[in-house]
Point group: C2
Chain length 395, copies 2
């Protein structure tokens, strides 16, 4: 942002972002004048930029809205549906997921391919995923919707340092050291890579309201392990290698059981899927729905489930205090368990959080708004965020 073209790029992005922002329920699509007020840009500038976006087909002008007040009625602007799309892919322990969205956020295509990927052959799985992706890309192309980029969510540690694009380690898949440049080449489109929880957190952030407390949260994604994404004031914390948010290996008890990571008493050994099932008195392979049913029906199971809540509260209290955040979003298995998990966890955290004790803040614990393949959705949004940041690159 040092010279005029970059200033233009930035402002063009600002205007498009404003047009693509999810409207508050009941609110009409924004018009030029409103965008000018919200961005601080002059209305002339907004008009110019909007003209450019209209000419490029990225946005459309809607029919004038019956004016509520006096004055000339507004011409609402909205993203052009189907003008371009982004593809989000997700490899999870139990399924392959795909979501394609356009700038309106509408889901243009969706795939959910249930299959246990534990110990699977990476080459086979990636080939299967590439087939799914190519099929969707071809369908969208026939409808005139180009796919401008692909995001891939993986349940493990990834790296994009230097010119690398690789999965380093996904213990729950049994995958290691997997170069993803060939996969990117096969798709023929730029590939964005990140952890499953980080992408899912992005998808949630997209739906968060304007309140700062709502735009800061810890996203928890429990499947085989516990993943996490940290969002602080609209920004996803990445860390040095992009591995921030690994809540699963916060220490709960120094004398606890040994974790797969080598340490003792990790949160994962108390509140991971298998641990929860065992604690409640079900076989370790029990699904979260079964756990929910047991806890809801059986008082003894409910009592044992308290230990899980306590462990989560212990781990999360530290996280919330450390980052001065007051919201926890439950994803993955935790979303399923939310009916029996959210409220007890909230009240425990309310007691243990410094911001609540000293600042009167309210702790919120809620299930994720995105229910299916959230990481795929977030991966697609990560691609579209690039479009929003520099629309002219996609004219």
């Amino acid at each position: 942002m040092a010279n005029s073209p970059e200033l233009r790029e930035r402002n063009l992005g600002l205007v498009l972002t404003e047009i693509c922002r999810p409207a508050a329920p009941g609110a009409p699509a924004p018009a030029r004048s409103q965008i000018a007020r919200r961005t601080g840009l002059h209305k002339t500038t907004v008009s110019q930029l909007a003209d450019e976006l209209l000419a490029a087909g990225l946005i459309v002008e809607l029919p004038p809205l019956a004016a509520a007040r006096s004055g000339r009625p507004t011409l609402p602007l909205a993203p052009n549906p189907g003008r371009l799309a982004a593809l989000g892919l997700e490899i999870n322990v139990e399924y392959l997921g795909l979501k394609a969205i356009d700038l309106t956020g509408a889901v243009l295509a969706e795939r959910h391919d249930a299959a246990d990927q534990r110990g699977s052959d990476p080459a086979r799985t990636l080939a299967r995923l590439a087939d799914l992706a190519r099929d969707v890309v071809a369908r969208l192309a026939r409808r005139g919707t180009p796919v401008v980029g692909v995001g891939l969510a993986l349940p493990g540690l990834t790296t994009t340092a230097g010119d690398r694009l690789a999965l380093l380690n996904a213990p729950n898949l049994g995958w290691r050291d997997l170069d993803l440049r060939p996969f990117e080449a096969r798709l023929g489109r730029p590939l964005k890579l990140d952890n499953e929880a980080n992408f899912a957190a992005r998808a949630e952030l997209r739906l968060a309201g304007p309140d700062p407390a709502e735009r800061s949260f810890v996203y928890l994604s429990a499947e085989a392990g516990i993943g996490g994404g940290l969002v602080s004031d609209d920004v996803l914390t990445a860390g040095l290698h992009g591995w921030a948010g690994e809540v699963g290996h916060v220490m709960i008890d120094p004398d606890g059981p040994v974790c797969a990571c080598g340490a003792r008493g990790c949160l994962e050994t108390y509140a991971g899927r298998r641990a929860i099932a065992r604690t409640v008195g079900l076989p370790a392979s029990a699904r979260p729905e079964a756990v929910l049913a047991a806890v809801a029906a059986d008082p003894a199971a409910a009592k044992r489930f308290d230990d899980v809540v306590a462990a989560l509260a212990t781990g999360l209290a530290g996280v919330l205090n450390l980052l001065d955040i007051t919201q926890v979003v439950l994803g993955g298995d935790y979303a399923v368990l939310a009916p029996v998990l959210a409220e007890p966890l909230r009240s425990a955290l309310q007691r243990r959080t410094l911001a609540a004790r000293w600042g009167g803040a309210e702790v919120t614990v809620r299930p994720a708004r995105v229910a299916t393949t959230p990481a795929a959705l977030g991966a697609a949004w990560a691609v579209l965020d690039q479009v929003l940041a520099n629309p002219a690159a996609y004219f």
Copy 2:
């Protein structure tokens, strides 16, 4: 950064920041051409901006440097010493501190007023501090150096939400709900307010090298309690209320002793000043220097000190993993204990950190570079950062 004047403001700040950046040892002050290369701005742009800064007296042109290579010799640019200053104030449990610095980073004035502030009368202490400050401001004014702003570091939770400027709670001082607007008015200059550890972390960040791993760290400040500042990729994490970094209340053991905060097993109850002294076998009021001597001399004390290291390692491993950071900076009492603390803590963290295990990263634990009143220094830098961000406001 939406229009031309703001672009100018930004670029002017970029150039001044580059000129005020602490040079690598042995490196000469940067010339216009080098600034152009580093900022990406055109050399004519840099010349124009430098002229403005020269005219305003914020920078000076040094005598030409004997050229090492062929070509015209460079005219190094440097911040103008004494052109303006910022004042940093620190109220700590055991002393009042003051540091005044100019854009070169030179300390123009320094005060250290040892006095136990526990249970002191806030009004008296603030009056004393204001006297110190006014004396220094007057002295600097006589030398022609205006003080453009004041930063105040407090050992507790502060708030600047809305138009407030207040200390909410400083348990170790016994202070609560203290409005600082009157203090600001008495100084007659804008007051920046923050936690002691956050400001101290800023001072350390200022001295960090260019390596990203060096510019991300957890700053620990142990006095009566344990404060902390989180710096992730050059950015100090604030959190919703600005209270992020409270490492002292990370849970170490769910069955541990009850902490003053109400929870059980907080890090503070294992690695706070009193806890350390007691663990080592000294009276709870023992100073860290005495602890260091005991641990260095007495093998039994050293053995017991291992428990402190273990507690810190447990708490910090979670922090480092959560934020994907590999550096810990020891401040306050911990800086004193560094000779017996840094290495054992480092090796424990090296074993427990995911980035080290999976990514081959090296964990660093080192004492703070700033020894005396680090928070006062950081508070002063926080003020000067505003000058660097918008120099024209101080012409």
